[in-house]
Symmetry: C4
Amino acid sequence: MSFEGAAQQLSEAGREFYGRGWVLGTSGNFSALISREPLDICITASGNEKGKLAETHFLKVNQNAEVIEGKGKPSAETLLHLTLYYLKPEANSILHTHSVWGTILSDKFYANGAIEIEGYEMLKGLNGVRTHEHREVLPIIENSQDYVALAHIIENVIRENPNAHGIYLRRHGLYTWGNSIAEAKRHIEIFEFLFEVLGRQRKA
Amino acid sequence: MSFEGAAQQLSEAGREFYGRGWVLGTSGNFSALISREPLDICITASGNEKGKLAETHFLKVNQNAEVIEGKGKPSAETLLHLTLYYLKPEANSILHTHSVWGTILSDKFYANGAIEIEGYEMLKGLNGVRTHEHREVLPIIENSQDYVALAHIIENVIRENPNAHGIYLRRHGLYTWGNSIAEAKRHIEIFEFLFEVLGRQRKA
Amino acid sequence: MSFEGAAQQLSEAGREFYGRGWVLGTSGNFSALISREPLDICITASGNEKGKLAETHFLKVNQNAEVIEGKGKPSAETLLHLTLYYLKPEANSILHTHSVWGTILSDKFYANGAIEIEGYEMLKGLNGVRTHEHREVLPIIENSQDYVALAHIIENVIRENPNAHGIYLRRHGLYTWGNSIAEAKRHIEIFEFLFEVLGRQRKA
Amino acid sequence: MSFEGAAQQLSEAGREFYGRGWVLGTSGNFSALISREPLDICITASGNEKGKLAETHFLKVNQNAEVIEGKGKPSAETLLHLTLYYLKPEANSILHTHSVWGTILSDKFYANGAIEIEGYEMLKGLNGVRTHEHREVLPIIENSQDYVALAHIIENVIRENPNAHGIYLRRHGLYTWGNSIAEAKRHIEIFEFLFEVLGRQRKA
């Protein structure tokens, strides 16, 4: 993918997510793979509104988290993106959102270690899922400001949950990925829909 | 109706429904009747975002579910659309959405066999309903990935509930129809509004 | 007000309310006063989508509910608008919406005869209200398809509640008015906001 | 900041907030600092819809709350803005919104004296906050129509809570500020997101 094309598609995803209230403030961050060997990614710079992104709000970053194109500070969470690209060879895009229902569920199910979702047709929107009888186990990881430690924890959790389509940082937000920006965006929508169903159902 | 006109109106309905969160991911599918004898329909191809449909995302399909115009794979649920057109001679459009409140209600009322709605002025938006005292019985059918079996079950349920304005696949979504795309769209809005009322009321 | 100007402003209010889900399906109706002597009003014709109104979707109707300009059938509720203009000399516009929260509250508080709202700053958006300590008593009237009988009931209720800024038809919708379309629209927003606060608070 | 630039940016924030239902009716008011010595601010005139603001809906007001540019009546709450600019030398913009969740929380937690929020990643969107472990204490002040008395109460509360990023008038709305309009807008989004999380969580 070209840097320009990635920035344009990620900006559009940002406008959609902002409209739905999933990246309020300057929360969330988005990336796409530019090349795998060497690992170069296009990622949102830190601190911008996600509903009004333009190409100038993106950086090209290498596998050492160094900025090789663009102006601005890479997000502190760049390391988590790089870790996920390393662990998930099929990932060409990684999207991270903060939603109300996700935040609530990540807290309620923290003691269980995961948000488990089973029996919904909407699950078929996740890559490779063929039936609503699928059981998606979305691991919840304790939030931290130590991103190096967090990257190691994520590495372990991903290895232990090879079938998960995402991870959730407790009271923080969802990370999911896809083989394209469109697929990663679809995964965000699927998870957010199901979070809302689970959140509202617990009260009903 | 012309294929082009149907595709344009269905695309617009898709944008509206996507905005309201009723066809997130690539969920939902929409069709309109092109001719009844022989039975030809215009239907969304599989796997596209419903908020950004254009004519190229639609297929013309015949009564054997064969693509006779357009590129792409017909939705696995095309068979359900064809079955409904066969059973409902007044139907010129069939719309299918996945909403949070519908999903929740279809689960809660599954044991009852139907979502029953009575006493709301909004019911008058359903074709032929003249008073809020109308009792709408919306049958709930267990979800399945075996679409041939599902089509037979739908056939029985529709014959047993000749007055129903739609059916609900459990934890999956709503199917409703109308004598025009505008009427089918109105039926979606009526049901979704009433699902939200019932869903929120159960908690209040 | 000119018919064209009224139609344009009411169409814009319709787009706004539709976006918020307060006039789904073809629910709701909107009017404005063209002249008081003789009483002529501009009102939505029956059966149109309220998110896409244009001048052709409006009728000029006289005090006998006869169409004197425009094509289409006047809403069955035209009689209620005319009754309200007759009873409320300050009203230059009447707006009617169907919302989820209003529907729920009108049912819950039906036995009380009114939705009572007190102590909210937002009440100051209602004409003539100077303090949040104001107590708004919004009468709830049983819904009916007999509009002549309903008009008489409304007449009595309005006379008994001269300070009310609106009335609610049970499980149907809100009627409110204003000395301009802008004020009537503001009243809708104020009531809908407060309905949501009350509805969510009852559950909290 | 120029008056024109401030009016344009505040208008845009108004459109965003109106879309989200945080400034319905004609609620809310927005300001930005034009100069600190002497203290001149650009502030919304009273009584306008916040979703359709243009430069003509703004006034330049001096430290005595006198209009020195523009037409219209300054909001009764202008005094509160001036008090906050006086107390918070870092504030270059002050935004005030009325939301459903904030209204509910301000009532529920009134007896506690504050809405306390701790442990959410989203808190890092508040100026100077470096970790989700931050505890934000948002003081709740009883609502009043006596703005002179209210200004004195706000002065005391701000002096007692030097680290607070905002204050809440009970059953009325949020005041927050920022070193730019963008930062104040971000603070509104952060607080509103967290209000919704807390409000929904209390019910779950």
